[in-house]
C-alpha cells in the first residue's frame, strides 16, 4: 500500500467540478457528500484495478492493458461506460499520435534551422559541426 494515506485521495477541486457538471444547475452538494464521492472514486480505482489485473493474470501478462480495463468494467457491471470509454480512447490515441508527429516535426524543423544558420560559414566547418551534432532522441514517458 502507498506510504502516505493522503496520496490515495483524488483532488477535491476536480471531483467537485465533475459533480457539478453532472448535476442540474444550482444543486447544493454538501461537503460530506463530496468527500464520500471522492472516497468512493478512490475505491472504484482500486476495485477496477484489481479486476483488470485478474484478466491480465489470466492471460499471463504482467502489464495491465486497455482490454483488461474494459473487461473489468463489464465485470463490474458498468457496461454503460464501455461506449464512452472506447470513444475517449480513440480520441486519446489520435492525440498521442499527433503529439509524436508534432515533436518529430519540431525536431526536423530544428535541424533545418541549424542548417540555415550554418549556411554562411565555411563548408569545412559546417561539415565538422554536422558530424559532431549528436543524434537527438525523443524519450517518451
Amino acid at each position: 500500500m502507498a506510504e502516505r494515506p493522503e496520496d490515495l485521495n483524488l483532488p477535491n477541486a476536480v471531483i467537485t467540478r465533475i459533480i457539478k457538471e453532472a448535476l442540474p444547475d444550482g444543486v447544493n452538494v454538501s461537503k460530506e457528500a463530496r468527500r464520500a464521492i471522492s472516497q468512493a472514486a478512490s475505491v472504484f480505482v482500486l476495485y477496477a484495478t484489481s479486476c483488470a489485473n485478474n484478466f491480465a493474470m489470466k492471460a499471463k501478462r504482467k502489464t495491465l492493458n486497455a482490454g483488461d480495463v474494459l473487461a473489468a468494467m463489464e465485470e463490474m457491471e458498468f457496461e454503460r461506460f464501455l461506449e464512452p470509454l472506447r470513444e475517449a480512447l480513440e480520441v486519446y490515441k489520435k492525440g498521442q499520435k499527433g503529439k509524436k508527429e508534432v515533436s518529430e516535426q519540431k525536431r526536423k524543423d530544428k535541424e533545418k534551422k541549424n542548417d540555415a544558420e550554418n549556411k554562411g560559414q565555411e563548408e569545412e566547418e559546417e561539415d565538422e559541426r554536422m558530424e559532431d551534432e549528436p543524434e537527438e532522441e525523443e524519450v517518451e514517458n
Binding site: 494515506p5 483524488l10 465533475i18 447544493n28 460530506e32 464520500a36 475505491v43 482500486l46 495491465l64 492525440g95
Partner: protein
C-alpha cells in the same frame, strides 16, 4: 493538498482528455497488490472511467434521493443509493473500508454500518491471532 489553478486544469484536460490527474490515479492503482505495470492506454481508461463513475454516482444519488425537492445532495442520499444499487455494492465491503480508513473516514455515517461490522471482524481476527 495542492490544487491546480483552473487555468492549468483546463489546459491539461484539453491535452490529456481527462480532468482527474493521471499521476494520482496511477498511484492508487499501484497500491493494489500484484500489479506490476500499467500501460498508458489502461491508465487513461481507468482515469476516464473514474470520472464517469463520479458523474454516475452523483447523478444516481441525486435522482434517487430526497434532495431532489430541496435541490441538494447530501451524504444520506449517497448512502441510500449505495445500499440500494447493485453496481454500487462494492462500496460497502471490506476493501472500501480499508480505503476509507486510509483516506480519513466519517465515522458517524453510513457506509459505516459495514465499517463497524468489519471493525468487529478485524478485532475478532486479531483476538484469534493473539
Amino acid at each position: 493538498m495542492s490544487e491546480n489553478s483552473p487555468h492549468a486544469d483546463a489546459h491539461s484536460a484539453a491535452s490529456k482528455g481527462t480532468s482527474l490527474p493521471v499521476s494520482r490515479v496511477k498511484l492508487i492503482m499501484k497500491s493494489s497488490p500484484d500489479v506490476s505495470s500499467i500501460n498508458q492506454d489502461a491508465l487513461f481508461l481507468t482515469t476516464k472511467a473514474t470520472e464517469l463513475f463520479v458523474q454516475y454516482l452523483a447523478l444516481s444519488s441525486f435522482n434517487g434521493g430526497s434532495g431532489k425537492e430541496t435541490h441538494s445532495l447530501s451524504y444520506s442520499d449517497l448512502a441510500c443509493t449505495a445500499e440500494q444499487t447493485d453496481t454500487l455494492q462494492f462500496l460497502t465491503d471490506k476493501l472500501a473500508d480499508t480505503i476509507m480508513l486510509l483516506t480519513d473516514i466519517l465515522p458517524k455515517k453510513i457506509f459505516a454500518r459495514d465499517y463497524l461490522k468489519s471493525l468487529e471482524q478485524i478485532q475478532e481476527e486479531k483476538d484469534a491471532d493473539d
